[in-house]
């Protein structure tokens, strides 16, 4: 590890992500939402936050509109969203998150937060804030 600290850092970041996400997926399954992935939760979040169509969702997630459409089809299948004709624009299908969708989002967000809180309890809130700050630098600045 001391011989490849950079690569080790990359592995740690990925492992941290998957650990957190796996935990949340398990919790969602336990709470009556099997078959949900982190991708689904993030997409539903983006829709609830304002992405009103497949094209918009794609832009907001940074993927193609076709990929977004597939995610939407899955979410509709799982009854997490409704798709209706947009009265203002006949090209569009307007998206709204269902009650079940909101419930799933709440459980997911709660599980993420609970995990983060437990982690803060182990390493200290200051260390966690520091980590988040470093990651913001890493992801937003030309390092």
């Amino acid at each position: 590890m001391d011989t490849h600290p950079g690569a080790k850092l990359a592995r740690l970041l990925l492992a941290g992500f998957t650990t957190l996400v796996d935990e949340v997926v398990v919790e969602l399954e336990r709470e009556g939402h099997p078959g949900v992935t982190a991708t689904h939760a993030f997409a539903l979040d983006a829709i609830d936050a304002g992405a009103q169509s497949a094209s918009e969702l794609g832009r907001s997630l940074g993927v193609s509109k076709q990929a977004a459409a597939k995610t939407i089809a899955t979410l509709e299948e799982l009854s997490y969203l409704d798709r209706r004709a947009d009265p203002q624009d006949a090209r569009r299908k307007h998206l709204t998150v269902t009650d079940r969708g909101h419930e799933m989002m709440a459980i997911g967000a709660g599980a993420f937060d609970a995990y983060r809180t437990r982690l803060a309890g182990q390493v200290g809130i200051l260390a966690l804030h520091s980590l988040e700050k470093v990651l913001r630098v890493l992801t937003t600045q030309r390092v």
Copy 2:
């Protein structure tokens, strides 16, 4: 973000990973190793570190032996490894990293390390060490 700090943490971890990896992939391409992904580099690393067969590589990467075999096929295609019959065990195909493979590993590790060093320059080595410690807790302990 303050409303969903846990989910935000997950996004930061993933974004941090992809930022780092994308940087390294670009550097590898620039240095004469196009078409290489982080998966390839990690697999080659595991092979060089002792994984001597597809089954072993799969175990060491935590994937099925079939998935490992596919990665190996790609790496062989790209001239990063040789596969020869094992004289001791006719079932096995012995794996060795080629010179070009070692060169690619060196460039990749160098790029990872360089990025980490630049990051340390921006946020301080102490913050980086703290981050790595938190991630080790996150990934190795029952939080």
